[in-house]
C-alpha cells in the first residue's frame, strides 16, 4: 500500500540518530530564570507580580490580555526580582520577568506571620471519565497552554471553533518532520498512555462525535507500534496514520491532505475542512493540566547538532537561558557556528544565548559548517527545483525576483500569502538564494497593501 503523503517536499538529512535513543531527562533549575510575558501568538500577558515578591511554582505571574492571548505562570518557586527588557528568540527584545528560584527568606527576628509557602500551586485535578468539554477548555485557557508545533497559538482558542465550522476530525501532529528533533518521538514512547488520555480529552472538548487520529512518519516505527498497542490496550477509537517520511509532512495542510485527502483552501484554517490539529506536546500539556492539575513549567526539547558535545532530550524549566541548556549538554565544540532554536528547517537563529526557553521551544541545535552547507549565493538558473518541491505549489524563484523588485501586488497575485515559510525551496536551491527571507519580506509587504477590491 502506498504510504499517505502529499505533493512536493524534500528529504533533508535527518540526524535523528543523535538523540532518538536518549530518554527524556529533567534539567535542574538554573540560578536565574527569565520568563517572557509573550510566549504565545497574540498579545503578551499583563504582569501581576510586585518586585521582590515571593512566587510559587504554578502561580499566575501575568494574566491573559485578550481572546488570543495566554496567561504566564511561574515555572519555579522563588523571588521575583524585577521586570527587564531582554533578548528573546525570533525577535529582538521583550518584557521578561526575572525570577531567582529558591526558598523564601526566613522570617526576621520578631516578625509576625506564618512562614511563606514554597510548595507548587496546583489546580484541582479532574478525572477523565467525569470532566466535561467546557471544563477542559476552561482549564486549558487557565493553564495558558499554547501549541507546541511552532506558532505557539493559544490552544483554548483552537478548541473553541465557531459553531458554523463543524469539526469531524482531530488529528495529533506527530510527524515530527523537522530533522534532529526527537522530543515528540520520546514522548510517544515514554508517555504513551498519557498521550492517549490527552487525545481523549481534546476529543471531549471538541464534542463526542469527533473522530480522533494521530499522524506519525514511518521513520518512527517504534512510536507507531507503541501507539497502536496503546490504542488496543485501552480499547479506544484512535486511528494511527502512518505517513511517508518527507518534509514538511508536519505542516497542518500537508498532514490533513495526507491523512484524509482534504485540501485546506488558501488563506483558510484547518477547521474549514472540519479538522483540528494538535501537537504531541500540546496534548500532553492538556493531560497534565486537566488530570494532573499542573500548569506548564517545563519545555520538552531536543538539544542536538554536531556542534554540541552531549546531544540530549530534556525537560527544561521555562525561562532557562539557552546558554545554560548548552552548558548542561557539555557545551559546544570548536566546530559550532550557529545556534538554532526549533528545527533546522523553520527554526530561528539565536542572536543571543541570553534568550530563554519558552513554552513552545522544541529544540536547541548547535550547528556546524558541515550541516549548514552554505556556500555563497550564485545566479538563479531557473532550474525550477524550488517550484517542484514547494508543498503549496508556489513559484518561489519567481516570487524572489518580484520581491527583489518590490512588486508586491504581483507577489500577491502569485499567491505569496499561502507560503508557510517551510524552507523547502531554499533547501533545494542550487544557487543558494535566500528565498525564505524574500518570501517573508513579500508577505509582510503584501499584508500592508490596501485590500484588493473584489
Amino acid at each position: 500500500m502506498a504510504l499517505k503523503s502529499f505533493h512536493g517536499g524534500v528529504h533533508p538529512p535527518e540526524y535523528k540518530e543523535l538523540t532518538e535513543d536518549k530518554s527524556l531527562e529533567v534539567m535542574p533549575l538554573p540560578a536565574e530564570i527569565f520568563v517572557p510575558l509573550g510566549q504565545h501568538l497574540g498579545k503578551p500577558a499583563n504582569s501581576l507580580v510586585k518586585k521582590g515578591e515571593y512566587v510559587r511554582r504554578g502561580q499566575v505571574l501575568a494574566e491573559s490580555s485578550g481572546f488570543i492571548s495566554a496567561p504566564v505562570h511561574s515555572p519555579a518557586s522563588g523571588k521575583f526580582v524585577k521586570m527587564l527588557k531582554g533578548p528573546v528568540v525570533g525577535g529582538t527584545t521583550a518584557d521578561i520577568l526575572l525570577i531567582k528560584p529558591g526558598e523564601p527568606d526566613p522570617p526576621k527576628e520578631g516578625e509576625e506571620g506564618a512562614p511563606v509557602d514554597s510548595s507548587p500551586m496546583l489546580l484541582e485535578p479532574y478525572r477523565l471519565e467525569m470532566v466535561s468539554g467546557e471544563q477542559i477548555i476552561e482549564r486549558v485557557r487557565e493553564a495558558g497552554i499554547v501549541g507546541q508545533g511552532g506558532a505557539a497559538f493559544p490552544t483554548a482558542v483552537k478548541l473553541s471553533p465557531p459553531p458554523d465550522k463543524p469539526i469531524d476530525w482531530m488529528i495529533i501532529n506527530a510527524a515530527e518532520c523537522e530533522p534532529y528533533l526527537t522530543r515528540d518521538y520520546r514522548l510517544m514512547l515514554e508517555r504513551t498512555d498519557d498521550l492517549i488520555d490527552g487525545i481523549l480529552l481534546i476529543g471531549k472538548a471538541l464534542g463526542e462525535t469527533v473522530n480522533l487520529g494521530i499522524g506519525i512518519e514511518n521513520n518512527k516505527p517504534e512510536a507507531i507500534q507503541a501507539l497502536r498497542e496503546g490504542v488496543v490496550r485501552r480499547a479506544v477509537q484512535i486511528e494511527v496514520f502512518e505517513l511517508k517520511t518527507k518534509y514538511p509532512q508536519g505542516g497542518e495542510k500537508m498532514l490533513i491532505d495526507a491523512a484524509l485527502g482534504r485540501k485546506v483552501p488558501p488563506g483558510a484554517l484547518p477547521m474549514e475542512v472540519g479538522c483540528v490539529i494538535q501537537n504531541v506536546g500540546t496534548a500532553l500539556a492538556i493531560r497534565d493540566a486537566v488530570l494532573g492539575g499542573e500548569v506548564p513549567a517545563t519545555a520538552t526539547l531536543t538539544v542536538s547538532g554536531l556542534g554540541i558535545n552531549e546531544p540530549r532530550n530534556l525537560q527544561v524549566p521555562i525561562g532557562t537561558p539557552l546558554r545554560e541548556v548548552i552548558a548542561y549538554c557539555g557545551g559546544a565544540n570548536e566546530k559550532a557556528r550557529r545556534v538554532v532554536v526549533g528545527g533546522p528547517m523553520m527554526g530561528f537563529a539565536a542572536y543571543s544565548l541570553d534568550a530563554p526557553v519558552v513554552k513552545a521551544t522544541s529544540g536547541i541545535l548547535v550547528l556546524t559548517e558541515e550541516e549548514l552547507k552554505a556556500p555563497p549565493e550564485t545566479a538563479c538558473v531557473n532550474c525550477g527545483k524550488c517550484a517542484e518541491a514547494c508543498p503549496v505549489n508556489l513559484l518561489p524563484f519567481r516570487l524572489l525576483k518580484l520581491a527583489k523588485a518590490g512588486r508586491w501586488e504581483d507577489t500577491r497575485d502569485l499567491g505569496i500569502e499561502v507560503c508557510m515559510e517551510c524552507g523547502t525551496c531554499a533547501f533545494t536551491c542550487p544557487a543558494h538564494k535566500p528565498l525564505v527571507q524574500y518570501l517573508r519580506l513579500g508577505k509582510k509587504n503584501v499584508r500592508n497593501l490596501p485590500r484588493k477590491e473584489s
Binding site: A336, Y351, T378, V381, L395, F397, V436
Partner: protein, 337 residues
Amino acid sequence: MADESSVVDGAKKGVALKAVSEGNLELVTSPHSHFGWTTSRIMWTVTIALLPSLGAGIFYFGPLALVPVIGAIVGAVGCEWVVGRINKKADTVPDGSAFLTGLLLGLILPPGFSPLHAVLGGVVAVGLGKAVFGGLGDNIFNPALVGRAFLQASFPAGMTDWSTAVTRVDAVSQATPLGLFKFGEPSQFLGDITTSKLLLGNVGGCIGETSSLAIIVGAAILLVTRVAHWRIMGSMLLGGVVFSGAFSLLGVGPGPLFDILSGGFLFGAVFMATDYVTSPNTTRGQYVFGAGIALLTILIRRFGGLPEGVMYSILLMNAAVPLINRVTRPRIFGATS
C-alpha cells in the same frame, strides 16, 4: 559573521558559550540545512555526462575531431572571462557554465570544422547568447544553439561538409543519414543506414551527435544524478515517436526510429532542451515544451528545406518559454481555480 571563538571559549570554560549579547552569533534566516548542490556542481555533472558522446566522436572521426571542440570551448570561456572583466564582476568562469556551453557547441559541429570558426562560434554563443541578456540565468535562447545558428548562417559550407575529417565511418560517403534521406536516392539510403549503425554512431554527422548509445549513457548520468528530469526528454522522445509515426503512417517519412536516432534529435532532447535557463520551470510546461520541439523538428524534416530541424525547433520553443510558463502555472494548494 559569527565569531566562533566565543563559542569555543565557552566550551573550554565548561559554561558553554560566553556572553554573546553583543551579537557575534551568526544570524541567518531559516532553513539551516541544505541539499548541498551548487550551480557549478550541476554544470560539471552535465559536462561529465557529455564525455561519452565526445569519446564516441573521437572514436569514429579520429582525434582531430577534438580540434573544433577545443576551439569552441576556448571561444566560450575566453568570452566569459572578458565579459566578466568588462563588467567588473566576480569571475564566473569556475562555475563551469561557459565551459559547458563551449563543449555543447563543439559537439554539434562537423568533425572537420575550422577551429578558428569554432572559436568565433564560442564567442558568439556566450557573448550574444548569454552575456547581452545579463549573464547566466537571464538568457532566453540556448547559448550553444545561438552559436551554432550563427555558424550555420556565416559558414554554411563548412557546417555541412562532412567529408574532411579522418574517419572510420563506412557509410556511403560521409553524408549524414538525414541528408541522404532528404537529398539522396531512397533506395540507396534504405540499404546502407541500419538501425544498429545509427545506434552505435557509425554514420556521418556532428561530433557528439553521431552515437545514440553514448547519448543514452549521458542521459542515464543526468537522470541518475537527478540533474535533469525525464519530463522534457521523455515528452520530446514520445512526441518524436507520435509525430514521426503519424506521418509515416500517411506515407511521409522514414518513421520514428530513424527520426529519433538520426541527426541531433537525441542529443537535443538530452542536452539542449533540458537546459534549465531556457526551458519551462513548471511541470506541465516541460511536457508542452518537449512535445513542441518534437513537432517542429518533424515538420521541418518533412516539409522544410533543411534536412535537420532540431536546432531551430529548440530555439523557437525557447522563445515560447515565458508564454508556456505563464499558461501552465501550477494551481496553488487547495485553490479551486
